[in-house]
């Protein structure tokens, strides 16, 4: 039986997949039950604060089939295509219907621009169906000055969350929410182990579902389901395929991973915000709440958007070693350029360690818009098999 078949036989996985495939269903239920829902654009919005306020955090995601009527009007073409599609749903009323407010974290320069544009739209076109927008101006350079500023900014954000919640939020409530988030991350780490431990029992596609469903459902329920999947998956068959690490653009769906894994490799780890990076670092319960939030989000593994090239070279080396990957696929969407500056030194460093690499740059989004790159994947898989 294939891993996919095993997974789909699992009630816990099926529930996660249902949430992953039908991302609005839990949001609608929560709102019907009187819970306020807050959309997040960017991966650095502290869920702990929102959960502490009794709010439900959900990730903004793109609809590949939606025509970009509003986006083409407001955004220049040099915006990352996924963000362009996300923007469409923010300004066409989709999210106004669905959520109570939107938080934008400056996880990448593109998203900062989106915030500035949304703020300006509120000013000059107040009739547009755009939710209230809040911004978190994180500074990611690792330096005490910026750490302290981040703590100040998180304090401001907490005030906004308290306004949305209609009450003050205590430190104990934040800690309690942090325990929930930490438990979820711990459960996801068990999945990670099954994905990149000495035996591989979960492939990249299934991992995306398991991780990504967290963005659209109650976090405690998510944790419970992930724990169950982890228990069951330990007895799923071992995947004997070349181990590949995926670095690059966010993958909001499993389409690309399905295609890559169909070529005969298994994705044992990744570094984007819809994958392993989500559970990279815990909230340290021994710290003051603001410091713990800043520590958790500022000191996660370096993202391709907010790090120097040398940091990204080291980060990728670390991740490839930790997942015991034999090869790396670099996948960069067109107009999502920052990682392209890291690529040549990363490739050089990996190849010096005998790792194989494949680079797919300037890719169109959604994936189906590209000329078929199946041949490149197959050739890479063949090399991997030859080298495995």
């Amino acid at each position: 039986m294939s891993i996919r078949e095993c997974a789909l036989k699992s009630a816990a996985f099926s529930r996660l997949k249902d949430v992953y495939d039908n991302r609005e269903q839990e949001i609608k239920k929560a709102r019907a039950a009187g819970t306020k829902v807050i959309a997040e654009l960017g991966c650095d919005v502290p869920d702990e604060l929102l959960l502490a306020g009794g709010l439900m955090p959900v990730r903004v995601y793109a609809d590949p089939d939606k025509e970009l009527v509003q986006t083409n009007k407001y955004l220049e073409f040099s915006f990352d295509p996924i963000v362009r599609a996300q923007f469409e749903k923010i300004v066409d009323g989709t999210y106004k219907e669905l959520v109570d407010a939107l938080v934008v974290s400056n996880s990448t320069d593109v998203i900062i621009r989106i915030y500035l544009y949304l703020r300006e739209m509120h000013r000059v076109e107040p009739e547009k169906p755009i939710p209230e927008v809040e911004f978190i101006d994180w500074l990611f350079t690792r330096n005490l000055l910026y750490q302290q500023r981040n703590e100040f900014l998180i304090g401001l954000f907490q005030e906004t969350v308290e306004r949305w919640a209609g009450r003050k939020i205590s430190d104990e409530e934040i800690r309690e929410a942090a325990r929930v988030c930490n438990a979820d991350k711990a459960a996801l780490r068990k999945i990670g182990e099954l994905r990149h431990g000495s035996e591989v029992h979960i492939n990249g596609s299934e991992a995306l579902v398991i991780i990504g469903s967290a963005f659209f459902m109650d976090r405690k329920e998510h944790t419970k389901l992930v724990e169950e999947v982890a228990k069951e998956a330990a007895s799923w068959p071992v995947i004997n395929a070349p181990r590949v690490f995926f670095t690059g653009s966010n993958q909001e769906s499993t389409d690309l991973y399905d295609k890559i894994e169909a070529s005969g490799v298994v994705i044992v780890g990744d570094d984007h915000d819809w994958g392993d990076r989500f559970y990279d670092r815990d909230f340290n319960l021994e710290y003051t709440t603001r410091r713990a939030i800043v520590d958790c989000y500022m000191l996660r593994e370096f993202s391709s958007k907010k790090a120097y090239t040398s940091q990204r070279v080291e980060a990728l080396n670390r991740e490839v070693a930790a997942t015991a990957a034999d090869g790396v696929i670099f996948y960069m969407n067109e107009y999502e350029e920052a990682a392209s500056w890291d690529y040549p030194p990363q490739k050089k460093s990996l190849e010096s360690q005998g790792k194989k690499t494949l680079c797919l740059a300037k890719m169109k989004w959604p994936m189906s818009k590209n000329d078929d790159f199946g041949d490149k994947l197959s050739a890479f898989a063949d090399t991997m098999k030859g080298g495995a």
Binding site: D109, R113, L116, R119, F152, T309, R312, E337
Partner: protein, 448 residues
């Protein structure tokens, strides 16, 4: 026309008419050679991105070159094709961040400081000496990566500074109130943070160079800058009030940009003064840059360094004059900060944190352009968006809408300010010709 024939022609094909432009060009070359001599003699040398508060290095007498200025020099020397080939050969993409990556690409050139068979330097002006220090601000996702690799290739120490986003966005920053009341204008915590950032930068420079920072020197530098920029303010106001204008952007962009990088020196101040006096003399004598001036055009975006003659292509046929660019106008409106004596570092912080906002954040950019359109009697706006720079994505929809709502037509196109490979002179001129014929002329006729 006889007068035209005497005008000096630059490498980029444009005809320049001001002494101040020629003086600035000559000075920068001479200054660069002197800088090289200082570096060769063992002095520290900084390489800075344009948005770095260079005033600190000026006050510490650390010679430096500005990335965008140097990219413009490389562009004017037609080096970019070679450099992007070097990027490609080293495995980098050759279609990204051309403006900021020119010097990094140059750092891959083994011939940069060599002489050719005829004994001529192969790199621009003999190539860039190895900086001891490279500093940039993290105003986009790529800047830190490019600077880090540039620094590595040159063996320079890297220093980076963050960028914060304004929460408080009072409209009309260009009202002179900002010169005096900047404490009211910005979020206080942003200025506080920027002051601390400057202090850290000073400590870094002191440690790297062995030179000690002197607050009195900074105060002097800041005051010189205020004087320099006040001349730009007067020059801009003067040009705006002249019909026809005595000079065009071809004259002012180079004269101002080159001297801006020398801001905080007596030469910079004196040059700005001489520019003003020269323009005033032309205005007083009733000299017209384009005697048949009919339409006044605004240029939004970075300068087309490799094809300055573009700006002059519409003068004879239509009497259409590019008379406004941000280079002079930013000098006029964005730099001056009074009360320097109270706290020079805080005054500097209140200058540098806003530069990104003024240019790239709606509504500050759109509102300023509107005010400038009014002051300069602009009939049409040509707006170039660089296709490969996320930082320069600045809300073109809002800018276009604000300007068109005010009854002024706008032409937007994508191009690259440095890379001639992405510039079709014929197409671009064709777009503007069509814009003038179908939008600018009828719009002005309708207003009569």
């Amino acid at each position: 026309m006889a007068e035209e024939a005497k005008r000096p022609e630059s490498q980029s094909g444009a005809v320049k008419r001001l002494k101040a432009t020629a003086t600035a060009s000559a000075y920068q070359k001479e200054w660069f050679q002197k800088t090289k001599e200082r570096v060769e003699a063992g002095e520290p040398f900084g390489y800075l991105n344009a948005d770095v508060p260079m005033e600190v290095l000026r006050a510490m007498d650390i010679p430096f070159v500005v990335n965008q200025w140097w990219a413009a020099i490389c562009g004017a020397k037609r080096m970019t094709k070679k450099y992007f080939g070097l990027l490609r050969d080293a495995g980098y993409r050759d279609d990204l961040c051309s403006y900021c990556a020119t010097a990094f690409a140059e750092s891959l050139d083994p011939d940069d400081r060599k002489l050719d068979e005829e004994g001529k330097p192969m790199g621009p002006w003999g190539g860039l000496p190895d900086p001891t220090i490279a500093i940039t601000r993290l105003t986009c996702d790529c800047q830190g990566k490019i600077f880090e690799q540039f620094a590595k290739n040159h063996g320079s120490a890297l220093y980076t500074m963050e960028n914060t986003v304004a929460r408080k966005v009072p409209l009309k920053w260009f009202d002179k109130v900002i010169w005096n009341d900047w404490e009211e204008f910005y979020d206080k915590d942003r200025i506080d943070e920027a002051v601390e950032e400057l202090q850290q930068m000073i400590r870094f420079l002191e440690q790297e160079t062995g030179k000690m920072f002197d607050m009195n020197s900074l105060e002097k530098v800041m005051n010189l800058i205020n004087e320099q920029e006040l001349y730009y303010n007067k020059t801009r106001d003067l040009i705006a009030s002249c019909h026809p204008v005595p000079v065009t952007v071809v004259d002012t962009i180079n004269a101002v940009m080159q001297a801006q990088w020398q801001r905080g020196t007596e030469w910079g101040r004196d040059h700005a003064k001489s520019l003003y006096e020269e323009v005033k003399a032309l205005a007083d004598a009733g000299v017209a840059a384009v005697p048949n001036e009919k339409y006044r055009l605004m240029w939004l975006g970075r300068g087309i360094w490799h094809d300055f003659s573009f700006y002059q292509s519409f003068e004879e046929k239509y009497g259409a004059v590019f008379m406004w660019s941000m280079y002079l106008a930013m000098g006029a409106d964005a730099y001056i900060r009074y009360h320097v004596e109270e706290d020079p570092l805080r005054a500097l912080a209140a200058r540098y944190i806003g530069m990104e906002d003024f240019l790239h954040m709606p509504p500050w950019n759109s509102q300023w352009y509107l005010q400038q359109i009014e002051q300069n009697d602009i009939d049409g706006v040509v707006y170039m968006i660089p296709g490969n720079c996320m930082q320069a994505v600045e809300g073109s929809y809002f800018i276009k809408k604000a300007i068109e709502d005010a009854g002024v037509p706008v032409l937007i196109f994508e191009a690259d300010p440095v890379d001639p490979r992405k510039w079709s002179a014929e197409n671009m001129r064709g777009f503007v010709n069509e814009f003038i014929e179908t939008k600018v002329i009828p719009n002005k006729e309708n207003k009569k």
